[in-house]
Subunit: 99 residues, 2 copies
DNA sequence: TGTTTAACTTTGAATTACAAAGTACTTTTT
DNA sequence: AAAAAGTACTTTGTAATTCAAAGTTAAACA
């Protein structure tokens, strides 16, 4: 596929993963509950998308206890930030050619 | 889903349909062969995506003969242009909040 | 001991995407 | 006239993706 289109990252074609990554670009870290609330999806669905991003090395998962409660927090890795940023660049180039 | 994300149009989540519509925004009309060459996909795949866009009323299909050869050409309809433009706006708003 | 909370994992169903093969109709080639 | 090729599909079958719902684990609270 020509037209800058192949520069789009398949990982970010899903709205959920696009949402997760954009949240993790703005916020240095977010925990499971915060993501779930922002994205308004079921926990199983969220977990599976987080798992996909983790497998790609785009996010870092940190499990800890806050007080007595388990808390898992997610951060974008450098490769993740790079990949997302590249994707946004591709989208921007793409848009500016399409208007 | 919050964060402007629900404003994204599901029809344009696919790279192929994104590509088709962007080509039809720039070029007033394109025929099957041109689209196939630009997008570099099989004809069956292209036909099914064109069919999806047609069902949504986003493109107009015109069948004719050019010389002795059958020629089908595709144009973006006004609702199609509007929908695509709205999608790009949503993407832009989304991107500017994510960098 | 039983229930709740957090963060999953598993299951299953529905949708989507795609390549490859087949089709219809016409034209060109032999 | 018969065979091959071109255009634009449609059909078929498979693989991948997405999601909700239910089940799981482990600790904490009542």
């Amino acid at each position: 596929m020509k037209n800058h289109l192949e520069a789009l990252n398949k990982a970010f074609e899903s709205r959920v993963r696009l949402g997760i990554m954009s949240l993790l670009m703005v916020n240095t870290a977010m925990d499971f509950g915060m993501l779930k609330e922002q994205l308004n999806i079921t926990d199983g669905n969220l977990a599976s998308h987080l798992n996909a991003l983790d497998k790609l090395g785009y996010i870092l998962i940190t499990k800890q206890f806050i007080g007595k409660k388990p808390n898992t927090s997610y951060t974008a890795t450098d490769p993740g930030r790079k990949a997302f940023s590249d994707h946004l660049d591709a989208l921007e180039r793409f848009i500016s050619r399409s208007i």
